[in-house]
Symmetry: D2
Subunit: 167 residues, 4 copies
């Protein structure tokens, strides 16, 4: 099975920084030969991360909330059309080996919380201080803070490394 990195982040509400980091994340994920998964829409972090991944030759999957692909990112290889609205946020995180939150918004917050509930490792990138404090209090062990894309990728490498025998 291929390793899937889920990148969550705001759509319409994404900042310029969120988009730039998401684009770089997508490129970096593709260079590791990992699959980029996101909420799939043609907006904000979803569009930026899939654009980055495609440009670097990676495979991209979008887990779309709607009933068709009308609002899909043009950079998706695979559109999973759920038709279940934001209930699909739970699928985003269950399907990811590591969850990277790039920026923060309401949907992103729900994904980080659901990820922690499902015992998935979460990396916060470009998160506001209140988010860092809240989520670290919820689950200090599973929440990592990355200062930039390189540090996020280093954490992903650690988190997806098969455990050594005897470790």
């Amino acid at each position: 099975m291929l390793t899937i990195i889920g990148v969550m982040g705001p759509g319409e509400g994404a900042s310029e920084t969120d988009r730039r980091l998401a684009y770089e994340l997508g490129r970096a994920i593709a260079r590791e030969k990992w699959v980029t998964l996101c909420g799939g829409r043609n907006s904000g972090v979803m569009e930026a991360v899939t654009r980055g991944a495609k440009e670097a030759g990676g495979l991209t999957i979008g887990i779309l909330p709607g009933q068709d692909t009308r609002d899909a990112s043009p950079y998706l290889d695979l559109a999973i059309v759920t038709g279940i609205g934001n209930a699909r946020n739970s699928i985003n995180i269950l399907s990811s080996h590591v969850v990277v939150a790039c920026g923060m918004g309401k949907g992103t917050a729900s994904e980080v919380a659901l990820a922690l509930k499902a015992k998935k490792p979460v990396i916060l990138l470009d998160a506001p201080k209140t988010a860092i404090e809240f989520f670290r209090e919820l689950d200090a062990r599973r929440v990592s803070i990355a200062a930039g894309v390189e540090e996020a990728m280093e954490l992903c490498r650690d988190l997806t490394r098969p455990s050594e025998p005897g470790a």
Copy 2:
């Protein structure tokens, strides 16, 4: 249609205070002739709020994550068996006229975030300071803080009152 107050809160991780407040909330919701909706399990805030509501003669609905009623609160009148796991958190909040978060945990955090995303009013009761700061930053307009059950009920009354013509 009946007015539904959704009470979200931790299951196994609920504190004694969370449970006591949830029980009192259930009683108060029932006295207003509102319906109490929750995640439906036989644990923590879910069990306490439905027990309170039942004891005060109210109607209770549980939106269960599993495929059957095995782990349902014994105080449910109506068990909605979703079989969709924590994706049902989205249904909890979409079905509630007002969302009251009693205590805080990972699932509760996802519900508050999804409620704000769906533009539902949220009342935080017994929430830690980090949660208050985070969620108010996400959406100051829709997040209210209640100091106790009475204040939460006062907010619910305001939020469910039909808008006056010309208002």
Copy 3:
């Protein structure tokens, strides 16, 4: 917990007979003090069965596919707003003690099939011959055929009766 009878059937595609039988079913379910559950929309069997149940003083629940109550039957007491589209068909049948299919359509067929998969008893009323033959071949033991509302209610009474000790 209250006993829930799920009545499934076509929306816009319902025949006059489907609607009339659904209305009578709703009345009969209410007279037994059971709860009427359906897909909740303001159309076809969903509207007719909830109208019948309300007129006879029963409690009605609709499991709505959309994100709000805009297309809800006006005869619902409780609107469960799922936002998950037709994936909610699975919730309809998991939440019902007995599933009655009144008429037949694409959505109804999916509900009968999911009900049998979940080992729920199904009563077919006003079903075409091809549906009867197909579903009986899928699971002869769990599919009953009712010639009319009275026979459907008799089957519901049998299927919801607590098993006797030693039986």
Copy 4:
């Protein structure tokens, strides 16, 4: 976006013929450079079709009902972990450009019905006579019958061909 062919069919209840046809279907889908999507479990048609597709160098996606990959087919490239049980059947068909039902069972029947509801083309392969008659009556226009894998593939080619201008 890549073209996705969804192959639905029984798990534990699959016949030897169902499995053999599913395996051949998987091989044929891979040779066309299409993606094979299925319910993802390590059983029946799901396992056979992914095995065939992998052996022929194709890409495989499984839309798993559970909360993890424990019962996933070993021939999946991409495991979409939904955690929503059989409600995921709706995602299977919404994500597929063409739905091929290989054999028939309760879950498969729900998928064919949901596919027709969502206006997706459905190809029935190795379906019993009662299923053919029932589904053709539900929607004669969208249901095709294939006598074998070759005919199923010919139908898939027709159904995925971009419409010609002026056609």
